[in-house]
Amino acid sequence: MTAVGVRPRLSHRLGSTELVYLALLGILVIGAVLVATSGGNLFGTANVVDMLTRSSLLGFVALGQTFVILCGSLDLSVGYVMALCSLVGATTMAGDPARIPLGVGAVLLVAGGIGLLNGLIVSVLKVNPFIATLGVGLIIKGYLDTNYKGPAGKVPAVFQQFGYSRIGFLPVSTAVMLVAVVLGILYLRRTRSGYHMFAVGGSQEVARLSGIRTGRVLVTAHVLCAIAAGVAGLLIAARFGTGSALVYGSGYDLDSIAAVVLGGTLLMGGRGGIAGTLGGVLILAVLDTVFNILQVDPFFKDVLRGVVIIAAVAIYARRQIDRRASRTRFGNSGNGGTSPPPEPTPTPDDQFAARQGAPQ
């Protein structure tokens, strides 16, 4: 694919998922060194548990967000869904261990319903997903602000184990999140409906013309996303022992989008995946843990996170541009990406490939 004799830069030979994990490794090394210089150990049990615990909550939300972003959509209501679901879970359980299944069921139902609403607004009413999910989020916010002045409901002690207990250094919540991630990866890679999410995100028109019911795919993605956010809400309730409306102010909506994009999924959809998203989640978790240990000023912390996110996306954008540049008629940049037929020998440089999308 690249002109003979020109070694592509490392970042060009790797797939984007590998690149994400390479970045994670780099951040881990730098973080470990920084922590070590201030006399700590980033890989001490407490710190590892801290990193994993942080990643479980965001992991659920970002997992769901990956589905919608892959479809070329977006969900800004996840923070509100989390808050609502923590309340629905906690108030339904009302401290009674026997009511745990009921609470979980109620959360799944409420979250799924909100996802359905989001999906229908986006696919049937054709409202821009940014506006649609922001609107639905605001409706939930209004409901929460009116009805819940403080924490409400009580989570039984058994269920709190979901928030706190560990298997060795691995928090149960993280383990559950990882299982969900694996299921998500299988779903995208092994089911038709997963395949069709890539198609819808790549081009709704192409997907539609191929016979894919694009609306249905979008709705599915939104339902999965909201349910993932609902599970994150349950996890919050398990940690707090009660439901809390204030969670929506914690920025999980934008963090989840940042994690997905950090993970190499195109914001326009059509390319990416959950493996990358997990990498993005871990990167954010490691950054937060390191900043915490080093007691970085919280406002400056946000500055650093912002820088990391922009830098990562700038690198991805660069890779995209390099690839597109091959589609030219004249130029000496070699013949990027021409499939060489066996018989006719390709002439160099001249007259190669062509224009980007002929203007009609």
Binding site: M1, R189, R190, T191, R192, G194, Y195, H196, F198, A199, G202, S203, E205, V206, A207, L209, S210, G211, I212, L266, G270, R271, R323, R327, T328, R329, F330, G331, N335, G337, T338, S339, P340, P341, P342, P344, T345, P346, T347, Q351, F352, A353, A354, R355, G357, A358, P359, Q360
Partner: protein
């Protein structure tokens, strides 16, 4: 060329009519396709080829006429219906997902499954088998489509069509974006398909291809059928004549008496970028130089290069003898260039703003110091163009196409340009407005302005230009003097002769 004559007609289109917004595009066209033939469809831009093809593909629905497929009446309401009936279309804009693999694209929405899960191995194997069957072993099923050349992507489209068991495949200018050696690859594939009894409808502007590949050719002109002939029984001269032969009307105004050809005002030497190569061009004051050529030949790209959209990376540009660097539209305007763009709604106007605001747009944005003084002339310019509006406060989106174009022209005239580049200046406007644009061009010439006109309407090129520069594949293919005929232009543009 010699193919065993097959006569089983698989498709019979009769009296196909289609109008868009009341403007008839096809008036009663007939077309037959036989199994195992390559049937070329020819005609100038706007002759109705694409519309006919889209009706066959189910993208548009005909207003009248019948389509018979294997003896049965059909009407495709959706491209998918056509595809399922065995009629596939390869459009110029590909219906592929660039981020997915070849196999994923071929089997999109029909992924083979085993125990409910997608069987990727089988999908790749099936794709490999399809490819091997067509002698395309070098194309790996797991390759991402984005990494393929245009030819490779086209092949994926064709393979996808075949995987639906297509008996009819239509291709819209399949070679328009291909390099020579890629064209050969496509030829071989088309021939393979023909041997297997597939009927191929092949739209192309390139005469050589028509004669290389096709068994029969149907010629359309202005939405009507001219003729369907065996390719072996027609010469390229006859073909071109059938395609363009229309009476020249005295529609175009004469040169104004006090027009004289002056100095070179715009000079390009060795201009080149990713789309253009070795462009040498002189545009003189008082003269209309036309850029002709097929869609995508590089006409608009020259205008874009001058305006810094996709600027020249090679060569020099001089304005009135002084070298200029044109890295942005802003610099171009300051240097004395004006560009009336091809797409007036997207690039020429702020549609929801007033006539007055649009007419001042360039002045305010680029020449703020002089905006006030020069803007005083705008009402005069607008009335000389006979703009019909409910006053200068009206939003331009409510104006007709012709009046919108007048606002665009006024916007540029206010800057007093030395060189005016007009890209498809009369596209989609009514006859009266067209004539007004032509008169204006003559007036500008008389004032010594140099005009570079880009047009795909040959009639307009012949009727207005003092010089016709013909482009092909990003290079200047030839130049013709005023008074040349449409056929000569077409011959150079299609590569039949090189002047």
């Amino acid at each position: 060329m010699a193919v065993t004559p097959v006569t089983d007609t698989v498709l019979r289109m009769r009296g196909i009519r289609k109008s868009f917004l009341g403007v008839p595009v096809l008036h009663g066209v007939d077309l037959d396709l036989r199994a195992g033939e390559v049937h070329a469809l020819m005609g100038e831009n706007g002759a109705g080829k694409s519309t006919l093809m889209k009706i066959l593909a189910g993208v548009y629905q005909a207003d009248g006429g019948t389509i018979e497929l294997n003896g049965q009446d059909v009407a495709f309401a959706h491209p998918l219906e056509a595809q399922r009936a065995g009629v596939s279309t390869v459009f110029q804009e590909f219906n592929l997902l660039p981020e997915r693999t070849v196999a994923e694209n071929v089997f999109l929405a029909r992924e083979p499954r085993r125990r409910g899960l997608v069987d990727a191995d089988r999908m790749n194997a099936d794709t490999a088998a399809l490819l091997a069957d067509l002698g395309l072993d070098w194309l790996a099923p797991r390759r991402r489509v984005r990494t393929l050349s245009v030819a490779g992507q086209q092949i994926v489209e064709i393979v996808k069509a075949l995987s639906y068991d297509a008996r009819i495949i239509s291709m819209d200018e399949p070679t328009a974006a291909l390099a020579d050696e890629e064209v050969e690859l496509l030829y071989r594939l088309v021939r393979t398909l023909r041997e297997r009894g597939v009927a191929i409808l092949y739209v192309s502007h390139r005469l050589k291809e028509i004669f290389d590949l096709s068994d029969r050719v149907t010629i359309l002109k202005d939405g009507a059928l001219v003729d369907t002939v065996d390719t072996a029984r027609i010469t390229s001269d006859e073909l071109v004549r059938k395609m363009v032969g229309r009476p020249i009307t005295s529609f175009f105004p004469d040169k104004l008496p006090d027009t004289s050809v002056g100095e070179v005002r715009l000079r390009i030497r060795g201009g080149g970028n990713e789309q253009l190569d070795g462009i040498d061009l002189d545009v003189r004051g008082g003269e209309i130089t036309a850029l002709a050529g097929l869609q995508g030949s590089g006409r608009t790209e020259i205008a874009h290069a001058l305006f810094g959209v996709a600027r020249f990376t090679k060569g020099t540009v001089e304005l009135d003898g002084k070298p200029v660097r044109l890295r942005s539209a802003r610099q171009a305007v300051r240097a004395g260039l004006a560009l009336v763009t091809e797409d007036r709604k997207a690039e020429g106007l702020a549609l929801n703003q007033s006539v007055a605001a649009n007419a001042r747009l360039v002045l305010d944005a680029v020449l703020p110091g002089q905006a006030g003084r020069r803007a005083t002339r705008i009402p005069g310019i607008l009335s000389s163009l006979e703009l019909v509006s409910q006053g200068t406060g009206q939003e331009v989106r409510f104006l007709s196409g012709g009046n919108q174009q007048k606002v665009v022209l006024a916007k540029w005239l206010a800057t007093d340009p030395a060189v005016m580049v007009l890209d498809e200046p009369t596209r989609g406007i009514d006859v009266g407005a067209k004539q007004k644009v032509y008169t204006l061009m003559r007036e500008l010439c008389a004032r010594g302005v140099a005009i570079l006109m880009i047009s795909s309407e040959l009639q307009e090129v012949i009727g207005m230009a003092d010089r016709v520069v013909v482009l092909r594949d990003g290079r200047i293919a030839g130049e013709l003097p005023a008074g040349s005929d449409e056929e000569s232009v077409m011959k150079i543009a299609t590569g039949q002769v090189s002047a």
